[in-house]
Symmetry: C2
Subunit: 324 residues, 2 copies
Amino acid sequence: MSVSGMKKQLHKASQLLSERLMGAEGTKLDDDFLQMEKRVAVIQILLVELLSKTTEFLQPNPAYRAKLSMLNTMSRIRGQGKLLGYPQTEGTLGECMAHYGQELGHTSEFGGALANAGEALQEVAQARDALDVNVKRTFIDPLQDLHNTEMKEIRYQLKKVNGRRLDFDYKRRRKGKVPVEDVRQALDKFMSSKELAERSMFILLQNDVDQLSHVASLVNTLLDFHRNAHRILLGLHSNLQARLTAASNKPERRFRPRKIQVRRNTTAALDFTTSRQSHPQESSSQCYRPDPAAPSPVILTVNWSWISPVAGRSTPSTRTTRAS
Amino acid sequence: MSVSGMKKQLHKASQLLSERLMGAEGTKLDDDFLQMEKRVAVIQILLVELLSKTTEFLQPNPAYRAKLSMLNTMSRIRGQGKLLGYPQTEGTLGECMAHYGQELGHTSEFGGALANAGEALQEVAQARDALDVNVKRTFIDPLQDLHNTEMKEIRYQLKKVNGRRLDFDYKRRRKGKVPVEDVRQALDKFMSSKELAERSMFILLQNDVDQLSHVASLVNTLLDFHRNAHRILLGLHSNLQARLTAASNKPERRFRPRKIQVRRNTTAALDFTTSRQSHPQESSSQCYRPDPAAPSPVILTVNWSWISPVAGRSTPSTRTTRAS
């Protein structure tokens, strides 16, 4: 910094001190200017708040958010074009449902319903991804841009106005020592920077219909998302209702154990064959063969089966036992 | 544990070891049983996953979730009936918008739009609260209950079956040393517990239409939420469109600085009066009075004002200067 510049800074500092401590009255700006300054300050804070809250609204889990931005930065550094998307909660829930729905199989009503619901929720997650992208494009980016360029410029200009005001007031207070021409020059500088700042603030506040349009487009994208989600879930809903009616019309199967026969023989088989087994030879694989050295054992042939009223057979759960 | 109980445990352990290490073949259960066991195991894991994922879907921020549950537990301990709700992201964004919308004031288009959007989003947050409550009531609680009672019972029964199977197989392997009657008793116990477990599993799998109905009610509540959100945002959308059209029809105001007059006089006033100032006496409060000891200073009377084409007045930005 040059010597004159340093002197200027000292002058401003001394003026500020004398205003703050000795209560010296500095030049006051007109109400219009002060009012505009206040509203600009509000917009300043508002933008910061609004951007962070909107991001949180789109990507509510801070851990995922941080991880995602980290990964995307890395992939950008590596020059990989493809960027990752935020893991939407509908998506994770949908995947879980679809996965276990398939594991249970479509013979199970629960499994079928889960599979359908899972697919639908994954579609909703895609709709939310679209919301994410569109809100960023039509709301976050423009407001971020406003904050980074126009607002920044105005902040700088207001700082300049205040600096020149201090310089002018300092010289004004030292009228005797400072030549009149300097005071006039200081005022001119002060005035010109004030006009510049006033002009920028006026333009910002005049064009607030632009910000209004950003809010409108945010609402549009939200509206689209909820419309799509509603459409997707409506299809799923009718599907599940059909499943429910079909399931309620199914005849109920009841559980009945078959009687157990206990008898002596030499085939030595403990056999759990059931009437529903398709491959009888499998059942033989389920036998145990005692070592022949052992004395002729008690042989238990146990037959277990499902009797459904549809099949018409319904044997009482009796049990006969003969053993030596 | 009694001595006989300890002996039994040892027998089971030795049987398990000989099956695992020496590859001794234990009694195999029928395919139906094994199949049911497998599906029950799937449902077991599925319930745990589904419940956690659904909770994450409703309350995506783990930090808020933890804080909320902690606070609610404390209020329950204190016997305060009222429980806190999860801070919905729509709600926080809505509050932010409403707050700054009011600060900007309804004269600003941006402020008005933010205020409206804020209110609407807070309504959406209320709809989400309702979703939260209903999903808990109709989906999470019933499945949690199923997991805590029926599934727990089945887990216990299957454990019992395995234990008795091991006991039976142990005795079977020692036919020579163990009396036949004991083997038969062991089998009877094994059979009875197997039948019990089989019955419970059968009932669970038979009634999977109940779980289907829970999924259906989850989808219903989701559908309601999106329907409500869509309705609320549709109202907001039309409101903002009206604002946009009104704003675009407004005549544009242009910024013009008034000429600055610099002249000598003795009233010693640096005065920023503007044509829009309502209280002229206020402007006098914006004057600075130099100490009379100082020599007659340069007095700068600066007038600043807004000229809008609507008002019809349009003075060019000229500037005259007279100073000694």
